[in-house]
Symmetry: C2
Subunit: 312 residues, 2 copies
DNA sequence: AACTATGATAAATAACACTTATTTGAGTCG
DNA sequence: CGACTCAAATAAGTGTTATTTATCATAGTT
């Protein structure tokens, strides 16, 4: 049994196809066939059921593949240890970011990061929290930036910053006259929300619920992006809440309609999250440091109250 | 990097000597030399400092070897999964047992076990709790039988049985007239104890302490075995406590001097303990089942109070 | 029935782990 | 200081093994 064989098995389990898996492993298909056969012979069990299309795992096969994942992960940490020793920060790094953080944080962060750590090949994907959790678990992501706390097993969180909510009140809205608003002013009835699946939506629902416990599902229109949320709001569909960073570069356009909360302002906790195996930890540290440095300048608020992203 | 190379590195780290390590790996010394060199070249670091005699690990080397241990352990679990699938119970199994359990439990257990699981090559060692914990951690033991709870990280416990203490009261002792005795009768002052390092000693100290809180270190004579403990007691050196199972096969000799406790009788918890990685779990299950079956017949007590083996 | 997709097999080759034999180097003793 | 000893490194040869290209077998599709 070799680590290579285990990697092959993982690739096949993932793609359910020898040929595609072979490409991903940069070898030919017969190589996979023979190596998997050797592995199966050595263990004297069948891992893959080639009878079905697409290929399926046998019951033992599933357990073997699960354990193979552990072994390969642990083996990868050897390189990790070496990198750490050499102070080397580099290699491919796959970072997931949730949609409501992506557009505002990324421009601020990316330039500084690639300048400071030119050897890191960042691959950034916009994903929902749910997708992120799945991909962190199966090793397709190295880390992600999301609203926390998530309290998921296997996944560790490291807080980056707290981002206050800012209210966007369209003209003619009942709250438009107020200079600062309070959480108690909010009502789920005239609140525009993002589509289901966005954790920013859940955070906002939590916020309202904490003062009005009506779980009626007759919400207002829902949108997929914060941009359209603002447009809908301007159409008189209701008020909405925006993450603070989003208001920074749109202040001249949105300014007249923005209302900050009276402190302690409600806020979401934004963290970098990663698998508990702490693979590529030095790059995670690097990202954490860069973002912390940037945010220190951008968010001055001190007195905030954290809203959980999980709708209970 | 191959699993074989990692195993070689582990062997060298353990023996601090290439030649001896090579023997243990059933290869020649040059094989180790070249394979370790290849590993070091591939990672571009030095793992072993050959300058010193005996060989030492470098700082990175220590981390690498630690991680190698994890990888090899995880890799061994593949065979474990396969064995479990096939219902195969066999292979080498190293079991540690503490001295105060060894002589009584082993004769009862061994015969039944090797009859039921003839393919398991049991290697049993008598070790103190401290030695057991160290060897479970570094993988030199597969499991052990000891008094619990230990509350050690990395180690899991599975209770086998509760073994009551039985008092041995020599003739002319102040308690000799009593038919049953109580915990409150005990005094650390006329109590014979095992040597330091035996957890049975700690358990007994705990028992006395819980009613007399004098931590005076002027204990009576201490002995290394329960046999001499009884002899010393007969010499008038004081009373002592015995584990219940020990009294079973010596009942005709010791009978007149034995006094059972009034229920709830103080008792020690005896468990099979093993590394949290749960290697060779099916053999651990087998041992657990065999011992449970035996003990059900031997210990009838129900109403017991558990005494911790850790002197606080 | 021809086509397509996909995995298995065969033969050749390049890489590799391992062995025996020998060399190098460091510490030790007369 | 040179001879001796122990342990690791190196060299050369050999059998093994991972991998490749080319080909075949099979099942599902059009």
């Amino acid at each position: 049994m070799t680590i290579t064989q285990l990697k092959y098995a993982l690739a096949i389990a993932e793609h359910k196809n020898f040929t595609k898996a072979a490409e991903k492993c940069f070898v030919t298909q017969p190589t996979l066939s023979t190596q998997i056969q050797k592995l199966e012979d050595e263990l004297d069990i069948v891992i893959f059921d080639r009878g079905k299309k697409p290929i399926e795992l046998t019951d033992v096969g599933r357990k073997i593949v699960y354990q193979a994942r552990n072994i390969v992960n642990e083996a990868d940490r050897i390189q990790d240890i070496v990198d750490q020793q050499k102070g080397f920060i580099g290699g491919e790094f796959r970072l997931g970011i949730i949609p409501t953080i992506m557009p505002t944080l990324l421009p601020m962060f990316l330039k500084t990061f690639i300048k400071k750590y030119p050897k890191v090949k960042l691959k950034i994907e916009e994903l929902t929290t749910e997708e992120i959790l799945a991909r962190l678990s199966d090793g397709h992501l190295d880390a992600a930036i999301a609203a926390t706390p998530l309290e998921s097993d296997n996944i560790k969180e490291r807080v980056l910053y707290f981002e206050p909510f800012v209210a966007y009140i369209p003209d003619n809205h009942r709250l438009n006259d107020k200079k600062t608003i309070e959480v108690s002013d909010l009502s789920i009835d005239d609140m525009l929300l993002l589509e289901d699946g966005h954790c920013f939506r859940d955070g906002v629902i939590n916020l309202c619920k904490s003062f009005k416990d009506q779980t009626d599902e007759n919400f207002q229109l829902e949108s997929g992006s914060i941009e359209t949320l603002i447009k809908l709001s301007n159409e008189g569909m209701g008020m909405t809440l925006l993450p603070y960073l989003h208001t920074l570069d749109t202040i001249e356009k949105l300014g007249p309609n923005l209302r900050h909360f009276k402190e302690p302002s409600p806020a979401r906790e934004v963290s970098i999250i990663y698998h508990k195996s702490e693979l590529k930890m030095q790059i995670i540290d690097a990202i954490h440091n860069v973002i912390s440095g940037i945010i220190r300048g951008a968010i001055a608020f001190q007195n905030v109250e954290i809203i959980s992203p999980k709708a209970k």
